[in-house]
Structure formats: structure tokens, C-alpha cells
Amino acid sequence: MDAALDSAVSIAFHGLAFAMVLYLVSVGLSITMGLMGFVNLAHGAFAAAGGYIAITLMNQADMPFPLALLIAALAGGLLGMVLERTLYSRLYGSTELNQVLFTIGLIFIATAAARWIWGPLSQPLHPPSYLQGEFDLGFRRFPAYRSFLIMAGAALVTLLWLGLERTRFGAQVRAAVDNRRMAQSVGINTSRLFTLTFALGSALAALGGAVGADILALDPDYALEHLVYFLIVVAVGGLGSIKGPFIAALALGTADIGFKYLLPQFGAFFIYAMTLAVLLWRPHGLFGRAR
């Protein structure tokens, strides 16, 4: 009985940490796809960029962990902003096929750049000493870094939710997701809004890629390798929402760890089956609206 409880807690714990990383990377994708209807398959490349930048700063320049994370997120946001202004924005009105072609082209370039600069091997993340090892809560010991992931993730989710619900910017984003034309008519500068949300989403992805390098291995094929999971989070959660992807990431993260731990002979099969079932039951995702 103790063993069963032990593995249940362990699955929940690791699943939660995985879910936080998935959420951080995917939430920006959900918002940008909901806002602009843009199929951005290259979203994972921003996460990879953030991860690479943070790890290089820490391992080569001995930068402290929090500062490296901050710079990685800012760099990711800046990269997103530049690419959105110069390239993405040209394809907003274009067909899905062109957007797929364009974003896969970006993935190819990002992959080549990563392989060229950092080599084909995955880059290890060395958390600072105060986040290594385990810490004791009296009744149980928990791995410190995973605990940090869960708490940091929870804090960010709260911040994001408050930002979207309580600020003027958040209200504009919600308005534009609901009805872009109407938002434009009442004087919201949607083009600037797109750029800002794109940058924010890229920054969050970069942060997720950096803190999650421990869980989602950081190698040149990152963007393509994990794309299916990011897309599942977005599609199951529902486009243009921040609550939906959170629930979806929680479900996917814990189910993935759980099934791989309990039924390794089936691999990721159940995850895909669950996704299929959810999307057939609710084609627009758990929290998406028909549009």
C-alpha cells in the first residue's frame, strides 16, 4: 500500500513539473493561434533558443541562474518581436499551407543554427547548488529542482491570469480573440497587440525551454521533436485561452508520466488515444469556442 502511494505521489510530482514546462512553452502558442489564426509550427524553436541562451550563459559565463533565465526570456521575446514584425506579419492573411511551409522553413534554419553553434549533443542544465538535491518536508523528501519548477510555474500562471483578466492590455487581447474586427473598430491597435502578444508568448516559451531543459532534452531537433506535445496542449486546451492549455498541460503531463511509468509497454499510445477522444468529444478543445 505504501509503495502504491509512493508511486502515486511520485507520478503526480513529476507529472506536475512536466506539466508546468509544457504549459510555459505552449501558452504563447495558444494565444497567438487564437489571436491571429496563425499555425506557428516553429513555436518550439523559441523555447529551444531560450534554453540554449540560458545554458550558455550559465555554463560559459558563470552567470547566476535567475539572471540567465531573465536574459533568455528577454532574448526570446526580442527574437519573437523581430521575426513577427519582419516575417510572420506578412503571412497573416495567407493560407494555412503557406504558414506551414514558412514555419517549417524556420524550424529547419533553427535546427541548422543550433547544430552549428552547439553541436548535435543535448546540452545539460546544471541547476544552481541551492536547487540541487532534495529537501525535506517532514513527512516526505522532494527533489528540489522539480519543486522549484512547480512553484515557479504556479506563480507564473497566476501572474498571467491576473494580467489577462485585470489589465487593460489583457482586456484588449481578450477582445481581439473574441472578435478582431470589432476590436479594431473600437480603436484597439491590433497590429501592435499582435506584436506584443507574440513577443510575450515567445518570451514565455524561451523561459519554459530554459527551465525545462532538464525535462525536455535540449538538442538541435527540439522544435520538431516536441512539437506534437505542444500542439496537443494547444488543441486540447482550446485556442486563445490561458486556462485551457493549463488544464490540458496538467492532464497531459501527469498522464504521460503515469502511463510511461505504469504501462511502459504501451509508450505514448494512451496519450494520443486520449487526445483523439477529447477532440472528437469537443472539437474546439476543452475551453475553446466554436468560431
Binding site: L97, I109, T111, L224, V228
Partner: protein
């Protein structure tokens, strides 16, 4: 007597001519046959190109004409490859019946999944195609007893085609075999897209609401097209299994589903010839770049894709049309 045609003779004539075989349509086949004689040392790559062209051509039917954006077409390719491969491993060595079996199994999969998936649209549909392919890939990975799992399916023997043409070391038989199958598939797809059925597919792509309004059985049309495309993709996969005499899990991968979509859009989707332009362009560029720049070759491909996405919204064939019409315009002046 006046008919409707009197008003629009040019338009009607144009419409009634569009299915006729033009001389320029023979160009790909002349090039393919010429390559057989001119580049005997590249026949392995050539066979790969022919097989991928067939795969992209089948995708064109559902994506280019039907307007179904799928990121899971490799499911059919892979199922076809494993069907042909497993038959060959267990002693069914006759290749042509292997192709037919692969097409039948992949087509049946198309009917079953199509009936479920094609009720949705947009991102949901794209995700469902992707997830179904991922499920089949994971199943093949775990069913190692049948598929060989991560080690790949090995140990097939393929009998000579029609009992006459043995698969040789230089890949001559493989190349011609793939070429003949591709030609027959092209005749079929060409007939389909010019048929009333094909025209109704285009109608569904352009405006599904109107097709519903005029009473067209949209779901049935789409499922039929999905199954035919699936069967042809399965045949392409079977060709790969038989000519390589090896099947790896890569045939079911997301990368393969993505690559075929890219190659088709690169050439031009919904044009029947997009596959014949995009696939050789992509695969030759990849082959050459990978040889010259083993580390960062994919930058070149990436730039090519971005340039086409931004510059030529209907693929390379679209650029060609624009060029052609400009030249003709000049002449007229």
C-alpha cells in the same frame, strides 16, 4: 437553335478542353526515362524521388483538391510499407499482389479514419490526422514481434516482378518498377481530378457551405478521396519496402508526414504537377546540400521554403505561371 454555350463559347471550349492530354504533360516522363540512361549511378536516389512523388501526388488529391490539411499522411505510407514488408517476410514474395494488398489495407484505414476525422475541420482536423499517425507509429514501435520495432523490419525476399524482372544490385528494376507504378497512379489521379467527382472535391475546398446547399454529399466525397489518397500513399510505402527490402519506423514518422506536405506545397498544391516539381526540387537540393554542407545543409532548405512561402504563394508552379503570363503579355503588345 441557341444554347447556353453560344454566350460563352470561349469559356465552354476552355472547360471542355481542360481534361485533354497536352504535349507538355509528357515532359516529366521523358525526363524520368532520360535520367534512367543518363545517370545510371543515381538510380537509388531516383527511385526514392519517384516513390516520394507518388506519395506527394496522393496527398495532392486530398490536400490540394479536397482542401484537407493533413499532417498525418505518413500513417498510410507506413501502413502500406509494413503490409508489403510483413507479407514478404512471411513468404508472400510476389511484389504486385503485395502492392495491391498494401493499397487495400491503407485504403481501408482511410475509410475508417476518414469517417471519424473528416467530420471536423481546421486545426482540429489537422491535429486529429497527426494524432492518428502518431498512434499508429507508437503501435508499430511497440509491436516489435511483427514490425521489428526500432530495429526495423528485415529479412524480406521479393520475387522477380511478373516472374521476369529480378531486383538487381544497380537498382535498374526498382527505378523502372517505381516509374511504371507512378505513371499508372498519375493516369488514375488525372482522371479523378477531371471527373465530376474531382470537380466536386474542388468545390468542397473552395466553399463547403455551397456544396452542402446544392445537396452534394460532402462527407462521403471527402471520405472517398481520403481513402483513394490513402491507398495510393500505401502503394508508395509498399514500393519503398519492396525496393529497399527494409522498413524502419521512420516511414510512420511525423517528419515524413511533414516533409511530403512541404514538398507538395513547394511545387504547388492542387495543380496535379506540384508533386512532380516540388519533390525532385526538394530531394535534389537536400541531397546536394547535405553532401556539400553536412552540418548546416538544412539552412538552405529552410531559406528555400521561406522564400517560396513569402514570394510565390502557390508554389514554384505559380511562379512559372506568373513568368509565362508576363512573357505572353509582352508578346501581345
Amino acid at each position: 437553335m441557341t444554347t447556353l454555350a453560344d454566350g460563352f463559347p470561349a469559356a465552354i471550349a476552355e472547360l471542355s478542353r481542360r481534361h485533354r492530354l497536352r504535349l507538355s504533360e509528357m515532359l516529366p516522363w521523358i525526363i524520368a526515362v532520360a535520367c534512367f540512361f543518363v545517370f545510371p549511378e543515381y538510380l537509388a536516389l531516383g527511385t526514392q524521388i519517384l516513390i516520394s512523388t507518388l506519395f506527394a501526388l496522393s496527398l495532392d488529391l486530398i490536400l490540394g483538391y479536397g482542401g484537407v490539411v493533413t499532417l498525418g499522411q505518413a500513417a498510410f505510407f507506413g501502413v502500406g510499407a509494413y503490409t508489403a514488408g510483413i507479407l514478404a517476410v512471411y513468404g508472400w514474395t510476389e511484389p504486385l499482389s503485395g502492392l495491391v494488398a498494401a493499397g487495400a489495407v491503407a485504403g481501408a484505414l482511410g475509410v475508417v479514419t476518414g469517417l471519424i476525422l473528416l467530420r471536423t475541420e481546421g486545426l482540429t482536423l489537422l491535429m486529429l490526422t497527426l494524432v492518428v499517425a502518431a498512434m499508429i507509429g507508437e503501435a508499430a514501435n511497440k509491436a516489435g514481434e511483427w514490425t521489428g520495432g526500432a530495429d526495423g523490419l528485415q529479412g524480406m525476399t521479393i520475387a522477380p516482378i511478373l516472374g521476369l524482372f529480378r531486383f538487381d544490385l544497380y537498382g535498374r528494376t526498382s527505378y523502372l518498377y517505381a516509374l511504371v507504378v507512378l505513371f499508372l497512379a498519375w493516369l488514375l489521379v488525372r482522371a479523378i481530378v477531371h471527373s465530376p467527382f474531382g470537380r466536386s472535391l474542388t468545390g468542397i475546398r473552395e466553399c463547403v457551405a455551397r456544396m452542402h446547399a446544392i445537396g452534394s454529399p460532402v462527407l462521403r466525397r471527402l471520405v472517398t478521396a481520403y481513402a483513394i489518397a490513402g491507398a495510393l500513399s500505401g502503394i508508395a510505402g509498399a514500393l519503398l519496402a519492396q525496393t529497399e527490402q527494409f522498413v524502419s519506423l521512420e516511414v510512420l514518422s511525423f517528419a515524413r508526414s511533414g516533409a511530403v506536405v512541404i514538398m507538395l506545397i513547394l511545387g504547388g498544391a492542387g495543380r496535379l504537377y506540384g508533386a512532380f516539381v516540388g519533390v525532385p526540387l526538394y530531394m535534389l537540393a537536400q541531397d546536394q546540400l547535405a553532401e556539400q554542407f553536412p552540418i548546416y545543409w538544412s539552412t538552405g532548405i529552410g531559406l528555400l521554403l521561406i522564400a517560396v512561402a513569402l514570394g510565390a504563394r502557390g508554389g514554384v508552379l505559380d511562379l512559372w505561371d506568373a513568368l509565362l503570363s508576363r512573357v505572353r503579355g509582352h508578346r501581345r503588345q
